[in-house]
């Protein structure tokens, strides 16, 4: 839902970042307002996953230029846990397994960290159980998963549901979902997408990072951005995704060649 007077939640300006001295993001700019759903599409290696990791504060990525404001605050100055507490959420493409740490306990500690930031009381074990059972319905998840270790032995689909369950508990203002559709069969995709749609409101925003149109068939974006070689090449409405589906990414290569030619000699853009 686009409302030009909605508050800006995330303002990314000319963001540049590298991993192991290798520049990956080469000037990304993007403004996200409350109520909006954005989709960033692009091929493997275009930098779209890096964008999500940099926003969440992964220590392996180094910001070398640009800025990110989260509701006017310098996001990049914050530790990853602080970013989460103020309402930024990253749904992982490959959620890791953490043996020995109970999923329920993990969810409770995370939820309370967020609540504390918002000035709410901590939820005790009982209050939290009530909340988690209510939120389980969003992703139609079996309560048995609460008793297991975090993601340990979960199938791909179960891991993704657990991600959306976390999102449902943390109630983020900006949710970045990195390839949430990958590895999901059509039923699981529908459940996960249903959860995302259910959680989207006029007050929050969603940034979907995806390869494929199929996620956008079930979650309708307000904006579609095409990313390549570490920058956003084109921005359009939901029809841009359909166009990509039809014509593929070939035009992207031409665009990059054109861009490269306009750059000072000696600076090359890698197409990943």
């Amino acid at each position: 839902m686009i409302r030009s007077d909605a508050p800006v939640l995330l303002e990314i300006r000319d963001l540049r970042a590298s991993v192991e001295e290798q520049p990956i993001l080469k000037g990304v700019s993007l403004t996200i307002r409350a109520g909006e759903i954005h989709a960033v599409m692009g091929r493997n290696g275009s930098g779209k996953s890096t964008l999500s990791k940099v926003l969440a504060g992964h220590p392996a990525y180094r910001v070398i230029g640009g800025s990110v404001l989260y509701r006017g605050e310098d996001l990049l100055a914050l530790e990853p846990e602080q970013r989460a507490r103020i309402g930024l959420f990253l749904g992982f493409q490959y959620p890791v397994e953490i043996p020995g740490v109970s999923n329920l306990e993990f969810l409770r500690v995370a939820t309370n960290a967020r609540r504390q930031q918002q000035g709410h009381d901590e939820l005790d074990t009982f209050a939290f159980e009530d909340l988690v059972h209510e939120r389980l319905k969003v992703v139609q998840m079996d309560p048995a998963f609460l008793e297991r270790s975090v993601n340990e032995g979960f199938s791909g689909g179960e891991k993704k549901r657990n991600e959306i369950l976390q999102m449902a508990l943390l109630e983020p203002l900006v949710a970045i979902l990195d390839e949430t559709d990958s590895g999901l069969d059509i039923d699981a995709l529908r459940i996960v997408a249903g959860g995302v749609n259910h959680l989207a409101s006029a007050d929050n925003a969603t940034l979907l990072i995806t390869h494929y149109q199929r996620l956008l068939d079930v979650i309708t974006p307000d904006y579609v951005h095409v990313m390549a070689a570490g920058r956003i090449l084109r921005t359009g409405g939901k029809e841009l995704a359909l166009e990509l589906e039809e014509s593929g990414y070939d035009w992207v290569d031409a665009e990059i060649e054109r861009l490269e030619a306009t750059l000072a000699p000696g600076i090359a853009l890698e197409v990943g």
Partner: protein
Amino acid sequence: MPAAPMTSAATVGDLVSQPYRYGFVTDIETEKIAKGLSEDVVRLISSKKEEPAFLLDFRLRAYRQWLQMEEPDWAAIGHPPIDYQNIIYYAAPKQQAKKASLDEVDPKLLETFEKLGIPLSEQKRLSNVAVDAVFDSVSIATTYKEKLAEHGVIFCSISEAVKDHAELIERYLGTVVPSNDNYFAALNSAVFSDGSFVFIPKGVACPMDLSTYFRINSGDTGQFERTLIVAEAGASVSYLEGCTAPMFDTNQLHAAVVELVTLEDASIKYSTVQNWYAGDENGVGGIYNFVTKRGQCRGDRSHISWTQVETGSAITWKYPSCVLQGADSIGEFYSVALTNNRQQADTGTKMIHVGPRTRSTIVSKGISAGHSSNSYRGLVQIGPKAVGARNYSQCDSMLIGDQAAANTYPYIRSQQPDARIEHEASTCRMSADQLFYLQSRGIGFEEAVSMMVSGFCRDVFNQLPMEFAAEADKLLALKLEGSVG
């Protein structure tokens, strides 16, 4: 702009290098004998403690055996040679002679234990645990002695027991760990200073947990404590042991012997939280911890359980063991060993199955950080008469950073074809991605490390008595993070 990127390993490294909280020295006048070891020194120790002849003979025999023995070199540890003539074998705070009441104990000593979190005075002492406090070579005070005596339970320092219960000491001392068992046991048998004695008479379930707290204070003194716990038929007790030492840039030798005996249907649960000074980040200073702990399930259906949380010492060489003699007896070993910086630990257990249908369980969790080395070494031996014996062993290692080492040396010897022995081992690394995952959900870095470590150790912590489990959790957190404490 964000701060320069940190690899998680480096950050965890910063966390694990927390200062040692118990490194203070108590300034107290101490009576020490001259450095060095000889037959005269053994006699001197025995006479200072006014011991009966049988004990002097025991010490002298051990000393002569020790002279014939050589320091073992099979463990995965390394250290410069120990100069046994450069150690003081007896040190005691002056004022000597055990006091009838706590009011007469030097307030400095009471203060020391209070600082260590072990208040001894009537008003402040722990309400559900009786404590024997050992300072260098002597026991300072034992709480709740009278109350325990009402149940027939004897809980006192071993020096007192030698005087007041000589017949029990003579009957049991050295029967589980013979004086020539190994080099360090022989040394201990010759020069042991103090430690605790526990006797639970037939049919009595000890009404409270018993605990001994060992404190090394002197810089050049060795500590050689000796503990003996006997549970008669149908008796049971839960015993806890804690230890700390000041920070010195020299190494102190700690060579203890602990013997446990259970008769028919008796059970002893022995828990240790070891937090001796571990040396600095370059491996200077710290305690050399060479300990022999063994329990003997003499009676049928008796039960001995060792739980240890080893976090301190420059070197740990320790294999709490069970000799399962009685039919259907049970031995258990639950261990968490954390090493950091240059610490070296070679620890594990021996389960010796002698009687039929004996069962043993081994759960070992090793956590290695920094440049440390952490080895599990365990023996499961099934004798020819141990029909239907069973063992289950699980050895897990967690590596933090990429400089630490973890080794597992399981030895299995079975002379009984129908014995069932299962062994599982795993190694994992605490990864930057796991930590980031927890952080990205609002959980602080330190809490994330702590959650993962606690999760890894849960099977062992579940075995600790309640107060100790909390303490162990805190201790690991302290070793692994900055904010706690």
